[in-house]
């Protein structure tokens, strides 16, 4: 570091600096170490087919986690994303008769509507984000199951199957979509007024309000974006599995997405959105569980390792200087 970097005078010891670096770049380092270790253990890990499988698994999580990162950036949380996936999955077989484009458009529209309801409860009624989205999480999955029926329905439409299975230039189409979404979200956060307003609201909602920012509009938009991204992930999941199964698709997705965001270094207290970190966090969690499964570790070990990883990530990224 050059001398031009101004360190805060109070308590900026070596330990603080290491923790800060760990929070910022820890997830990339951890990802690199994980890939190195996995390759050392099993040289097949770097094979194209393995990476393709991992990308198929990770792409929907990345999409959902991007929306979640935006919501967490405003000091909220969106528990309804898993149920939104189920909702978008349930309309695909119902409306596929009109063609794939209207069906997908309707799924995305429903995702936006779900986000709109949650966002309106948060922004206009002042309900806590966690309960507002909890009520949607419970309710929407029920609605999705009512629309689809209890059993899974097969989907045979070529366009939707292509979305989930097709490779473009050797890389899954899903991964390209996730990449495009990552670029769009990163651009939004860094380069647009909306992105700056979002971060400002997450940092200090009251100050943003007094500064004349459109707090309610930004909050609603953030939840709508999260809903649309979750619905898109739902379409991709339907395409990949060739069936719509609202009882099971998207289960625990909210937990996976929150984990990816937190591991990626975005603080839960809002005011900062780390887009690339979120993608790296999602990839890290996916690869970590894949490595454990490939080496025949039981599910119990996978779950405990996940829990420890979450704790470590939060310990590194917790607010410092409060004690």
């Amino acid at each position: 570091m050059t001398a031009a970097v101004i360190e805060p005078a109070d308590g900026a010891g070596t330990r603080e600096r290491i923790l800060d670096l760990a929070q910022r770049y820890g997830v990339y380092a951890a990802l690199a170490v994980l890939i190195a270790v996995a390759t050392a253990l099993n040289s097949d890990f770097m094979s194209v087919s393995n990476w393709r499988v991992q990308l198929f698994q990770a792409a929907p999580i990345v999409l959902v986690a991007l929306g979640m990162a935006l919501v967490i950036g405003t000091e909220g949380v969106d528990l309804s994303v898993g149920a939104t996936i189920a909702l978008s999955a349930s309309v695909i077989p119902l409306y596929i008769g009109y063609g794939p484009v209207p069906a997908i458009a309707l799924a995305l529209l429903l995702g936006a509507a779900a986000g709109l309801v949650g966002g309106a409860m948060v922004a206009f009624a002042g309900v806590q984000p966690i309960v507002a989205t909890l009520s949607l999480m419970i309710g929407l999955r029920g609605v999705a199951e009512l629309m689809n029926g209890a059993a899974a329905k097969p989907v045979a439409d070529a366009t939707i199957l292509d979305l989930g299975e097709h490779n473009l230039a050797g890389v899954p189409l899903m991964a390209w979509i996730a990449l495009a979404a990552t670029g769009a979200v990163a651009y939004t956060v860094r380069r647009t007024t909306f992105g700056r307003q979002l971060v400002a609201i997450g940092d200090n909602k009251r100050a943003s309000l007094l500064a004349g920012l459109p707090v309610r509009r930004v909050l609603v938009t953030v939840y709508v974006l999260s809903g649309v991204l979750a619905a898109l992930a739902g379409v991709l999941i339907v395409g990949h599995g060739a069936e719509a199964d609202p009882a099971n698709q998207g289960l625990n997705m909210e937990l996976n997405a929150i984990t990816a965001v937190v591991v990626g270094g975005t603080p839960l207290s809002g005011g900062r959105v780390r887009v690339l970190g979120t993608v790296a966090g999602a990839m890290f969690m996916q690869l970590a569980s894949a490595v454990l499964i490939q080496h025949n570790a039981p599910t119990s070990t996978t779950q405990i390792v996940e829990a420890v990883l979450i704790c470590l990530a939060v310990y590194v990224s917790r607010e410092r200087g409060t004690r």
Binding site: A125, G142, A150, R217, V262, S269, S300, C311
Partner: protein, 341 residues
């Protein structure tokens, strides 16, 4: 953006003290009605739903209805009891569903060595689990949401490890008196009622309950007042974990075996019951009586849907519960806002 005063446009972080009007000062009749609606609302809705169900049903409310509503899911209500304390401090405990399942498996496993062990082992393990979470929250400065989310995953993992990935089922011996704890209607309901009464005393009549409320209202003030904030927080997660373990052990006694797949999503039902009961999710106000109304309301709704709309299955229950929770939190937010105006 319309020009409005900041007070109406943004929810204030800390709610005003609920009993400000008790000394008769500064409370208009309108404010008194709002306060009453907030405090008694859950009870009124519960009575109204029960009355409507009785009036609409072709037969009178039968004993078997009451027995079904009370006996089958009484243990799950203990999760909501523990959750009430945690939410009063402004925290949240997502691990209770997993600890519930873990408690059941531990009880079934230990019951072959004697009923006392079957009661003690789940309590001790779940209390320790809760205490670790509390230590991380209170002394580690980590967000309760994430710590207990990790606890949810970790406890499920431990459960899977104990049962060889769910392939081993531990049975409670047929002649163990441990089974009697979960049998019938009155024994479970009695146990749960006693624990709720103890919880009410702890919340309303002890300094510990007052400390919890103070922490939820304004943690910095509580620290400056010299209250044992960190210790109280550790204890509240320990209490929640212990209650979840006890609920799981009793469920194990009722089912006669350690079922590994139960408890998924129960933490959310518990949170919903607590919020419906009127406890503020922001902390600073918790009511055990409200939680009782909350769990009973959810149970009655569940029973009614099972009875009249059973062709739609559990999906209908989910949809109605979600909508009901949304209506309740919206009503609470509106009442809160109109009181401030």
């Amino acid at each position: 953006m319309s020009v409005r005063t900041p007070e109406t446009a943004a929810p204030l972080p800390a709610p005003p003290p609920r009993r400000a009007g008790r000394d008769g000062l500064l409370e208009t009749p309108r404010e008194r009605w709002i306060r009453r609606a907030e405090r008694r609302g859950p009870l009124v809705v519960l009575v109204a739903v029960c009355a409507a169900a009785t009036a609409a049903s072709p037969s009178d409310a039968s004993w078997s209805d009451v027995s079904t509503i009370l006996g089958n899911n009484a243990f799950v209500w203990l999760l909501a009891l523990g959750m009430t304390f945690v939410i009063t401090t402004g925290g949240i405990d997502l691990s209770v569903g997993s600890l519930y399942a873990l408690g059941g498996v531990l009880a079934a496993r230990a019951s072959s060595s004697g009923p006392w062990l079957a009661i003690l082992l789940p309590l001790v393990v779940c209390a320790a689990w809760g205490a670790v979470q509390g230590l991380l929250v209170a002394y580690g400065g980590m967000a309760p949401f994430i710590v207990t989310l990790a606890g949810l995953l970790g406890a499920r993992g431990l459960l899977q490890a104990l049962t060889n990935q769910g392939s081993t089922t531990y049975l409670v011996p047929a002649h163990s008196w441990f089974r009697h704890l979960g049998a019938g209607t009155w024994v479970p309901v009695g146990i749960v009622a006693v624990l709720f009464a103890l919880g009410w005393i702890l919340m309303e009549r002890t300094g510990y309950g007052a400390t919890l409320t103070a922490i939820g209202g304004n943690q910095d003030s509580a620290v400056l007042l010299g209250l044992p904030v960190a210790r109280a927080k550790v204890l509240v997660y320990l209490l929640s974990g212990t209650l979840a373990g006890a609920a799981g052990a009793l469920a194990g006694a009722r089912l006669g075996s350690g079922v590994t797949t139960i408890g998924v999503g129960y933490e959310l039902t518990a949170i919903a019951a607590v919020v419906i009961g009127g406890t503020l999710l922001t902390g600073g106000y918790g009511t055990i009586g409200g939680t009782v109304c909350g769990v009973l309301l959810l149970a009655v709704i569940h029973h009614l849907i099972d009875r009249y709309l059973s062709q739609y299955g559990s999906a209908m229950t989910d949809a109605v519960n979600g909508a009901f929770l949304a209506v309740v939190v919206l009503a609470q937010a509106l009442l809160e806002r109109s009181r401030r105006r």
